[in-house]
Symmetry: C2
Subunit: 417 residues, 2 copies
């Protein structure tokens, strides 16, 4: 099995000014491709340190992906250090120079002298062209180890890694005729341990499918991937594995298309030609913020009333003053009236409401922090539910409340079909 | 100068399932304390790999902070690997065992056999007790290098690092009588390069103060820190440096207290006994979501109308249909009427409104994507402004729009004083 290491460079990472997320991204794709990642490293913009760690890695690993240090400034030292470690000179790559010139031309600017430097790569290295920035990367060997140098800007790095480095690595390990396929099953409402238990046995049914999960609070994603020689057949197997997972995880699966829950709810509304209005108290605008993160959400999203004060609940949504006085703001009946009010005011197909106690203050013995009431108003009538969560942290509670409200609507929309 | 390395352990980090944010946190505090961080590493839950890298680091560094691998499961191997690297046995730390037992007692559970294992540390190591979890850490020497082993759970790691590791390192480098002081100046609206230019010269005026900056989109933070023997004197110097920075960065500084802009606006409203209502179109609830992330925001925040449809702008906020028909939804006059409507409906001191084009669709030659109109209604009257930004990404635009609206209100509130 091929053994790879990952090296992030730059003083921002070394000193902790920047969290390195590139290495995790690279590690995940390498592992999925059947390449074992043995070590990650980070060093600063220091020629001696760079040369030393290049040499160490070259004695240990089959391949290494290096990010950063390809920019135009004097502290960008990756190419110089690679050349020194290999005992070669830097040489101009003519196409890289033209690419950089074209990059500036497209933006109506002229290339500065410092950018010329970026077109110099170690003699004998193969240039990896960068369609999205000024920094080309390169591939070269040091001893038996193949080095891939990529820019540190995540967007540029990712495109180059996926389109140039991964195919090249797959050739090296003899899987170039395989397709790497991946699917994601997104769930909400089950603890990670339960998701794990429910998935037990998938490797027996689908021996070629690898499974991972990721807790992306407040959702848990199950990732299924497969390396296949026949793309159509691989997609079929992976599709069957997704169905297997969905059956075991229902009704907590909200997407198999890598959609967020708010985008999924939007899709369901769009399919039905329906519209939505919200009434948010404890979620404070978070549900509408999520909904409007999706481009085109104005097709189905009309209005949200973030009614933090009781007065606004009454004046904007027509919640009964008597209900508020008797039952309080955090109450199923209040939630129901809020949902009805939002639906009526906006003229929407559905009204969805949240009222609860996000904390840290405001709780009582009867209604502790974590209490959430959700109201739903539909053309057929209205209903509401009350839950009690036990998280203490305000922003986590807001996120859970918002997810629970959206999931309530999702289940209503899908179970009606 | 003391040279330190950082090692994160665990298969989740090695395989990229988890982004390692612990190392950046540790690196920043080490650097601020005058300790040079030379390398970061990560390896998986593998005894051979752990022993090998412990030995390599011990030959190179003066100190190393290791995170992870102290849990109760068989793949938690840090103590075993440390013992093996040092050629010693594991030994039971009686107080650590009692701590773990007490941890379970407090939660009304009994300690399982696997947790006993966590109380075993290498013979000769000094235990670092963990008040917040079951995993104690330990300190030990390998050759000339001092190793600090900490749990991987960020919250537990941070408390132990700050209260036990940092003081010990300061003793080692002879700065134990120094206080490490830090202040943050938070800015919005200036490019990073301009913030850097404005800060040029601070090292001449304040030779002991170190400066760093961090782009935390959409804000840019200037960090000032100082190691001082006399705490009061150090605070005075740092306070003067903060004033120096604020003078050069005004009016773009919104906090010197590490507050978010929304919390700062909340504080300003509270000081004035004033209340706020919002009318959000393009920001889609993001402004109210931010405002309500602050505990106690119900003291000053009453209501937000997220008016995505034109109909809701008219019905809820009383925006003139004629204005909408003639000027359109993205318009200064519309923004002004939205702000007035929100203020009136909620009975608030201030009304703040956003309407704009977040993209990617919906732009025109006259009003391209990135156009934002902000309206503000006050007891003295109302006004509005229009800006054009050139970011293409929808969620970035929403964040910038929301920050611009809050900053408009902040400037209004502070300049009146």
């Amino acid at each position: 099995m091929m053994r790879a290491e990952i090296l992030a460079t730059g003083d921002e990472i070394r000193t902790g000014a920047l969290v390195d997320s590139n290495s995790a991204y690279i590690a995940e794709l390498l592992e999925q491709s059947g390449i074992e990642v043995t070590r990650h490293h980070a060093v600063g913009d220091d020629l001696v340190a760079l040369v030393a760690i290049f040499r160490e890695i070259s004695a240990r690993a089959d391949a290494v992906v290096v990010t950063g240090g390809l920019g135009p400034t004097p502290d960008d030292l990756s190419a110089t250090a690679a050349a020194q470690a290999a005992g070669v000179e830097l040489a101009l790559d003519q196409r890289a120079l033209e690419d950089i010139g074209a990059f500036f031309n497209r933006r109506g600017r002229s290339m500065s002298e410092s950018n010329r430097k970026q077109a110099y790569i170690p003699k004998g290295a193969v240039c990896l062209y960068n369609a999205h920035g000024t920094a080309p990367g390169f591939e070269m060997k040091l001893g038996q180890c193949t080095f891939f140098f990529l820019p540190g800007v995540p967007f540029e790095m990712k495109v180059m890694f996926e389109t140039q480095v991964l195919p090249r690595l797959r050739t090296l390990i003899g899987t170039e005729n395989q397709f790497r396929l991946a699917r994601v099953v997104s769930t909400f409402g089950l603890p990670e341990s339960v998701v794990g238990e429910r998935m037990a046995g998938i490797e027996t049914c689908f021996p070629d499918v690898k499974v991972g999960w990721r807790a992306k609070f407040p959702e848990i994603q199950v990732k299924l991937y497969l390396n296949a020689r026949d793309q159509a057949q691989g997609k079929k197997i992976l599709g069957d594995a997704v169905l297997w997972a969905v059956q075991r995880l229902q009704p907590n699966v909200f997407s198999t298309q890598e959609r967020t829950l708010s985008a999924e709810v939007g899709e369901l509304l769009k399919q039905r030609g329906a519209t939505l209005a919200l009434a948010e108290s404890c979620t404070g605008g978070l549900v509408s913020n999520w909904i409007t993160n999706t481009a085109g959400s104005s097709d189905y999203f009309l209005f949200s009333a973030v009614v933090y004060s009781n007065e606004s609940k009454v004046r904007v949504l027509g919640v009964s003053e008597e209900t508020l006085a008797k039952q309080g703001a955090v109450d199923e009946e209040t939630a129901r009236q809020m949902a009805q009010g939002a639906r009526r005011v906006a003229g929407a197909t559905y009204g969805l409401a949240t009222t609860g106690i996000a904390g840290p203050g405001g709780g009582s013995a009867e209604k502790p922090v974590g209490t959430i009431c959700i109201g739903l108003a539909t053309p057929e009538g209205s209903k509401s539910l009350r839950f009690a969560l036990s998280f203490g942290q305000r922003q986590m509670n807001k996120q859970l409340f918002a997810m629970m409200a959206l999931d309530f609507l999702r289940r209503y929309l899908t179970e009606k079909v």
